[in-house]
């Protein structure tokens, strides 16, 4: 996936001079996950800007660039550090269009690796998507695979609204997937059916898509599981969610973020509001626990793994 994102950036930068990249170590080093590798060589330091160590500065500076008509793609080295730029992101990037009566907007992309699974503790493993989903004005995207990562990022760069683009670092390097060299976008606001099924729907996103697929495989003899990969977390693809739930009547939501007010809560509430009569069982949530992120020592217990997803599916089926 890291390489696919690199390709998306490269293509978008070729496509328009307005696209610039900035962040800590995005230049010579090519980013700590090598996502921006080679961009400095191709596009030069004016378009690939190493910045001082300040997330507040990175996001605020990028907002200024966007207000002036550029299309900045800002990297936050780990999403765990984004709180230092929350004022800029939550109060300004997200609210600019509304507060200014559409006089100004800040169409920028903030990319950041997120999520647990590589054993680096409390400040390199967070899944803070709720903070962004709850913030009107932001579009929140998380790819699950190289193919959709490329297409989603290209759509994000071309859009008119600010996008928080969360990259599941656990799947940066595998699974691998064929990524076409040509230009394509994956539309924002649309999810995909990653696996069709009849008995129960599992809704998830990011790295957990792979765990859900594995779980679906493992129970395939007994239960036909439909796996939905949201890709855009907000605005949610409500039609896809509802049509799947109406078909299966059972729903499990899986995410690595803590349970309380994780996206699972919203999906559960929406489905109850809009399709309660189709539900044969209450919506089940299989999520990270409400702790300050995966501790290094006990990370395996934190991440909702295949076993836990299967057990969630069983609970939905047995209800």
């Amino acid at each position: 996936m890291a390489r696919a994102i690199n390709q998306a950036l490269r293509e978008e930068m070729r496509r328009s001079e307005d696209v610039v990249v900035l962040g800590e170590d995005v230049g010579k080093k090519g980013g700590v996950f090598l996502v921006t590798e080679g961009l400095l060589d191709e596009f030069g330091p004016e378009r690939v800007m190493d910045t001082p160590l300040s997330e507040s500065g990175i996001i605020g500076f990028a907002m200024g660039l966007a207000m002036a008509g550029l299309r900045p793609v800002a990297e936050i080295q780990f999403v765990d550090f984004i709180y230092q730029g929350f004022e800029e992101l939550i109060n300004h990037v997200a609210k600019l269009r509304y507060r200014s009566g559409n006089e100004f907007a800040s169409p920028l992309v903030v990319r950041a690796p997120y999520g647990p699974g590589v054993r680096v503790g409390l400040y390199h493993s967070q899944s803070p998507e709720t903070y962004f989903i709850h913030t009107p004005g932001l579009i929140v995207v998380t790819p699950s695979s190289p193919y959709n990562a490329k297409g989603l990022l290209k759509a994000a760069v071309r859009g008119e609204d600010p996008v928080v683009f969360l990259e599941p670092k656990r799947v940066y390097w595998s699974p691998k997937e064929e990524v076409p060299d040509e230009d394509y976008v994956v539309e924002l606001g649309k999810g995909r059916i990653a696996r069709e099924g009849r008995d129960v729907t599992v809704i998830t996103y990011g790295a957990s898509v792979w765990d859900a697929l594995k779980a679906a495989d493992e129970v395939a003899g007994d239960i036909s599981v439909e796996v939905i990969d949201l890709m855009t977390l907000w605005p949610l693809d409500i039609n896809l969610v509802l049509s799947s739930v109406k078909k299966t009547g059972r729903l499990v939501v899986v995410h690595e973020a803590p349970r309380t007010l994780g996206l699972g809560a919203e999906i559960s509430a929406l489905v109850a509001e809009k399709a309660v009569e189709y539900l044969a069982a209450p919506v089940i949530r299989v999520t990270g626990p409400d702790v300050p992120t995966a501790p290094i020592s006990l990370e395996d217990l934190y991440v909702p793994n295949t076993a836990r997803i299967k057990s969630g599916v069983m609970r939905a089926m047995k209800y």
Binding site: F61, G64, M67, P72, Q84, G101
Partner: protein, 382 residues
């Protein structure tokens, strides 16, 4: 110890190993009695008496609008909180006059006169006060927060600080696009403590962006005196941390404000290091319409002392001395301001409130399904 230098305190450390810094004096060209410091008057960009008359006109208009804002607020006609402006007119009018058309302003909420000079119409001003559809920003934001693309004014919100950093990004983009503009960003003494101030000045230094920062040091952040805001006295010394040029100016002196600003703007335009201008002034009125009797936190004598340094009186004295204007001219300006304001209030009051749909518009470039749905519920269509 190098002659004339100071650090925070004397130490026994050999001075060449100690960071040395010296807070500057405050530049004043125009004295309270209307006379000028001849030497400084000759220095730098010049300004004709005719221009000064026109700027005085703006100062008078700004102050009149401020007075009206308070009156209308007392009558319950202004929505939200209004922040007072009296006594600071020379700062923004002097500074903003130094800008060219292609330049931009990242405003603070206390530079109303300068923004009107920059093109915001009086009808817009009062429409914003009334939060109606005559406000460019659709009445959503406080009546002191401005933004207008056509006038080169970057939108701000109420939180203090962050506009400084996007002003730096914006300035950088102008350079990137090979445009000539400079971005002048305003903040208060309180603003110097914010994260936005730090990242803005730091990024400006590193990227050498075309920015002029103006700190309006009016001695207080609401009730907190500048001595509780920072351990230094002259805020321009903060330039030292970022490799900028720092200069302190009498903010009640229109001539000094203009000259220093013009110098800064043109120097920055031609590639010089970003500038940090401190304008030393005083807020004569309460912080905002929600502030209580200010004497809770500052002595009345202090206010009275500063009234003696009134920037408008000073310009009038100057023009009277030079003979470029007479008392009658001032009276005419004041009358005209009054008249324009009354007409604008009338026009603004005629504007309807924004339509209900504006509640859910402009959150994104499109209206997502959840907002459509919520709107229907709110207006009871479901």
């Amino acid at each position: 110890m190098i002659v004339g230098m100071q650090a925070a305190e004397e130490t026994d450390i050999p001075p060449n190993f100690v960071a040395q810094y010296k807070e500057p004096d405050v530049m004043r060209v125009l004295n309270p009695d209307g006379s000028v410091n001849e030497e400084l008057h000759k220095w730098g960009p010049s300004i004709s008496d005719k221009e000064v008359v026109s700027l005085l006109n703006h100062m008078i208009l700004g102050r009149a609008v401020d007075r009206w804002a308070w009156m209308l607020h007392r009558q319950g006609r202004v929505k939200g909180t209004y922040g007072s402006y009296e006594g600071q007119e020379a700062v923004d009018i002097g500074a903003i006059y130094a800008l060219r058309g292609e330049d931009w302003i990242a405003p603070s909420y206390r530079i109303l006169g300068g923004l009107i000079m920059r093109g915001i119409t009086l009808e817009e001003v009062f429409s914003k006060f009334f939060a109606n559809s005559g406000d460019l920003e659709k009445g959503r934001n406080l009546p002191v927060e401005w933004g207008s693309r056509a006038r080169g004014i970057l939108s701000i919100g109420a939180p203090i600080g962050p506009h400084l950093i996007y002003a730096v990004g914006f300035a950088h983009a102008l350079r990137y696009k090979k445009k000539d503009g400079v971005v002048m960003a305003f903040t208060g003494d309180g603003g110097t403590s914010t994260n936005g101030f730090h990242s803005a000045l730091n990024f400006a230094g590193v990227f050498k962006t075309p920015n002029v920062f103006v700190i309006i040091n009016n001695q207080y952040a609401i009730s907190v005196p500048v001595s509780r805001q920072t351990a230094v006295t002259r805020l321009s010394i903060k330039a030292a941390a970022y490799g900028l040029v720092g200069v302190s100016v009498d903010g009640n002196d229109l001539l000094a404000m203009y000259k220093a600003s013009k110098y800064a703007v043109e120097r920055v335009r031609s590639g010089g290091a970003p500038f940090l201008l401190e304008a030393v002034t005083y807020r004569i009125g309460p912080h905002t319409t929600s502030d209580d009797p200010q004497t809770k936190y500052r002595p009345k004598e202090e206010v009275d002392r500063w009234r003696q340094l009134d920037p408008i009186a000073r310009v009038k004295a100057y023009l009277l001395r030079s003979g470029a204007a007479a008392e009658g001219d001032f009276k005419a300006m004041e009358d005209e301001a009054e008249e324009r304001i009354r007409a604008a209030i009338k026009a603004a009051e005629a504007n309807p409130p924004p339509p209900a749909e504006e509640l859910v518009r402009d959150v994104y470039s499109f209206t997502p399904w959840n907002l459509e749905e919520e709107f229907r519920e709110i207006i009871g269509e479901r």
